[in-house]
């Protein structure tokens, strides 16, 4: 299904709150690989809630596929909750590091200006090289590569995407519902059925 070009395909940001458990990354990753869907970006790190990890996964798919994938992820025993959002629904950033020769920067005023224009910040300054950092969307961090390339860019690395959901109220209150013994009065995951157009499509 991922092979067919479709006008409905776009970037989706999947956010999963999970237990911190050995093997869960694999359990989630194979949900994608089984369907031959490529993960464009993956970030896993501790959330604001002690003991709960947050996955940020970016894929390029149709909403129908993404909603089913989200259901499959949420079905895993150690996953608490999954959301999926288009880029318009999230604020997202990627961080990038650039290593350039210090002498070039020291000698060429234009490089310093370019770095400032691109919002880069020096992280480490050594005699032989300097490491700059920027955060932004893909195009922004890509742009700085192009800018620095003529001045001897030595090394570059970019982080996975992290995204904040605009409409989210956070996970603390949700977690309290999950911790209540079944069945709770208002199970959080019944939201899933509220948005029927998202879930029950063919």
């Amino acid at each position: 299904m991922s092979q067919q070009p479709s006008i409905d395909r776009q970037e989706y940001n999947i956010t999963a709150y999970t237990e911190n458990q050995v093997g869960l990354l694999n359990r989630i990753a194979i949900i994608f690989s089984r369907r031959k869907i490529n993960i464009e970006s993956l970030n896993v790190s501790p959330s604001e809630v002690e003991g709960i990890h947050r996955f940020n996964i970016v894929i390029n798919e149709t909403e129908e596929v993404v909603s089913k994938l989200a259901g499959q992820i949420e079905k895993q025993i150690e996953v608490l909750k999954v959301y999926y959002n288009t880029n318009a629904d999230v604020i997202w950033q990627e961080m990038a590091l650039y290593k350039v020769p210090t002498d070039v920067i020291a000698e060429k005023a234009i490089v310093e200006r370019l770095l400032r224009e691109n919002g880069a910040r020096a992280v480490v300054i050594r005699k032989d090289y300097t490491v700059f950092e920027t955060t932004g969307h893909r195009e922004e961090t890509d742009n700085l590569i192009r800018v620095l390339q003529p001045y001897g860019l030595i090394e570059f690395v970019r982080s996975a995407r992290i995204a904040i959901i605009k409409a989210s109220d956070g996970f603390n209150s949700k977690l309290r519902e999950f911790e209540r013994t079944e069945p709770s009065a208002e199970p959080a995951e019944n939201e899933f059925l509220n948005s029927r157009s998202k879930v029950f499509t063919m």
Binding site: G23, N26, I77, L80, E182, M202
Partner: protein, 585 residues
């Protein structure tokens, strides 16, 4: 007089009497068995090996409480546990060692996951300090089994055992059931630790086995049903897994809706029930397939619209409004869009729905099913069950068996033509009477599953019906039958072909019979080598009396029936066709 040292040597370290209630020091291996006892386990299917020796050593002292069935291959072990779980409704338990012992469970795990069978498999693993060193019989069974288990976990410390097993049983049996694998390193089995009283698991914060039923969806569903002129119920194994047979019966009897079953749902309603209109799917009955595309409201209960049930999806019940009752939210809307999703345990949703539906009879709609059944009888069934040809048919064997068992037996089938014939024609009076490999289609399933089914339901007759292909895949389990003395009746329907593949080659590949001509050993002689009584039948005149002899025989019996070589299973929905394009011949 004994010195202290001597008495310590002669007294058993642990007295295996009842479930431990006070904190004491014991090994991880003993803790494992204590956890099984606390979970009500009575039977284990297993095979020992190096990495699980400590657990087997502990088992030596628990022979009275835990019946360990020594199988001949771990695949046989897990299929037996599946049969046990399916006949008893309890969790099946399997022991296997590391490496090849564990990898031999893979087919059974995949089968149990797709057929929602609750299992707890315990595998031994190399010492924790050897993990990742390519140690003898080390294999990464956790990662191998991740996509084919509901949950899995590796225990490297004895203190983790109680919680891991408590979660394992809870996860395996709750919500939509499934297989769980717990991999225990040898050091954890040997390690002594302070064992506290076992606490069963009842809640995991990240796991919601079932939701609270939303009454608005019940009301919407009832309104659709009450307006329907041609409502049609499809039910699956969810009715059995939810132990909701009575609730289901009450629902269809009040609403008067014709109901058809998937092969895993068979038996939840007796075959003879007037509202039972037959089998769905590729080789299901004519009416249920054709009329799927004529009903106005389709009510799917605990079934997942497998492609063998739906045929071509974009021509499947497009005219109908669909009400889908399921405990697994990812099944609702997965293949067929649901007009009304009724997410929940059908044990809870069905009575709520029954309360709101009007009592109806739908006589004209039922007449349509009856007319289609008449056509099917004329075109297929009469000749299959009461053949005029000289050669024996698979169907007449099932028909004769029905007459003798009167529908009281548990029928265990393998995969292929004989499976379709048995599912179509076996008379089932009781629930949990049709045990077959549905979703995965695992050849070799039936013989070990029948063994397990008998252990799970010792007072019911168990008849395995197997093809000449499938039986040769796990025939070593005759050894398990010999050693345990379990009473399983085995019918091999021998058409000297891998019949289902041959049928497809005949119909769709210009009769190019590519590697489907399979030879068989003399099964009766093989059985006698295992001290199992047996007989071969080649003529119609001997069939019934030999079946009778088999059923009356004390203990296991193998009956080989030589059936027509090139019979085809009809009706058939050819692959890629709509259910309404089902062929009668």
């Amino acid at each position: 007089m004994l010195t202290n040292e001597q008495s310590a040597q002669t007294l058993p370290e642990f007295t295996a009497t009842a479930v431990q209630t006070e904190t004491e020091t014991m090994t991880g291996a003993v803790a494992t068995l204590q956890a099984l006892l606390a979970e009500g386990v009575d039977t284990i299917f297993g095979y020992p090996g190096g990495a699980i020796i400590p657990i087997y050593d502990a088992l030596y002292d628990y022979k009275e409480q835990l019946n360990h069935v020594l199988v001949r291959h771990e695949q046989g072990g897990i299929h037996a546990a599946q049969g046990y779980a399916r006949s008893s409704g309890k969790v099946g338990v399997v022991f296997a060692t590391s490496g090849p012992g564990a990898t031999n469970l893979v087919t059974g795990l995949a089968d149990a996951l797709i057929d929602s069978t609750p299992l707890v498999c315990i595998t031994g693993q190399v010492f924790a300090h050897l993990l990742g060193t390519d140690a003898f019989q080390e294999t990464d069974i956790i990662n191998i089994t991740t996509p084919i288990t509901k949950w899995n976990f590796q225990v490297t410390n004895a203190e983790e055992i109680q919680e891991a097993l408590a979660k394992a049983f809870y996860i395996a049996r709750s919500g939509r059931p499934g297989p769980v694998l717990i991999d225990i390193t040898k050091n954890a089995q040997q390690q002594k630790f302070d064992f506290a009283p076992y606490v069963p698991c009842t809640h995991i914060r990240s796991y919601r086995p079932k939701p609270i039923v939303r009454p608005e969806y019940i009301r919407e569903a009832a309104a659709l049903i009450n307006q329907a002129k041609r409502p049609f119920v499809l039910w699956g194994q969810g009715v059995l897994l939810g132990k909701a047979e009575q609730e289901f019966k009450a629902f269809i009897e009040k609403s008067g809706i014709p109901a058809a079953w998937t092969i895993l749902g068979a038996g939840a309603l007796p075959t003879d029930h007037p509202l039972n209109v037959g089998m769905l799917g590729m080789h299901g009955n004519y009416g249920p397939n054709v009329l799927t595309n004529e009903c106005d409201v389709l009510i799917a209960i605990g079934m997942r619209f497998d492609d063998r049930v739906t045929g071509r999806l974009d021509k499947y019940a497009k005219q109908a409004k669909v009400i889908h009752l399921d405990i697994d939210p990812t099944e609702i809307g997965k293949n067929v869009a649901a007009t009304v999703p009724v997410w929940g345990d059908c044990k809870e949703t069905l009575p709520q729905l029954t309360a709101l539906v009007e009592a109806k009879l739908h006589p004209e709609w039922h007449e349509r099913f009856r007319v289609h059944m008449e056509q099917e009888v004329d075109a297929v069934i009469r000749e299959e069950l009461f053949p005029t040809s000289e050669e024996l048919t698979m169907g007449e064997v099932i028909q004769q068996l029905n007459e003798l068992t009167e529908g009281e037996a548990i029928i265990v089938t393998d995969v292929g033509q004989h499976q379709m014939v048995a599912c179509r024609y076996a008379k089932l009076n009781n629930t949990r009477s049709n045990i077959t490999s549905g979703g995965l289609g695992t050849m070799g399933f039936a013989l070990p599953a029948a063994i397990g089914a008998k252990f799970g339901a010792p007072h019911r007759p168990v008849v395995a019906i197997i093809g000449d292909g499938g039986v040769q895949m796990t025939i070593q389990e005759l050894g398990t039958i010999m050693q345990t003395g379990v009473d399983v009746k085995i019918i091999i329907l021998n058409n000297r072909f891998l019949g289902m593949v041959r049928q497809w080659q005949e119909l769709f590949n210009d009769r190019r019979y590519s590697f489907v001509d399979i030879a068989s050993p003399d099964y009766v002689t093989v059985a006698s080598g295992y001290r199992i009584a047996g007989k071969r039948v080649e003529a119609r005149a001997e069939l019934k009396q030999t079946l009778q002899q088999m059923l009356e025989h004390p203990g296991s019996f193998l009956l080989e029936v030589m059936v027509s070589k090139e019979n085809n299973i009809f009706p058939m929905v050819p692959q890629g066709c709509s259910v309404s394009e089902i062929r009668l011949r």
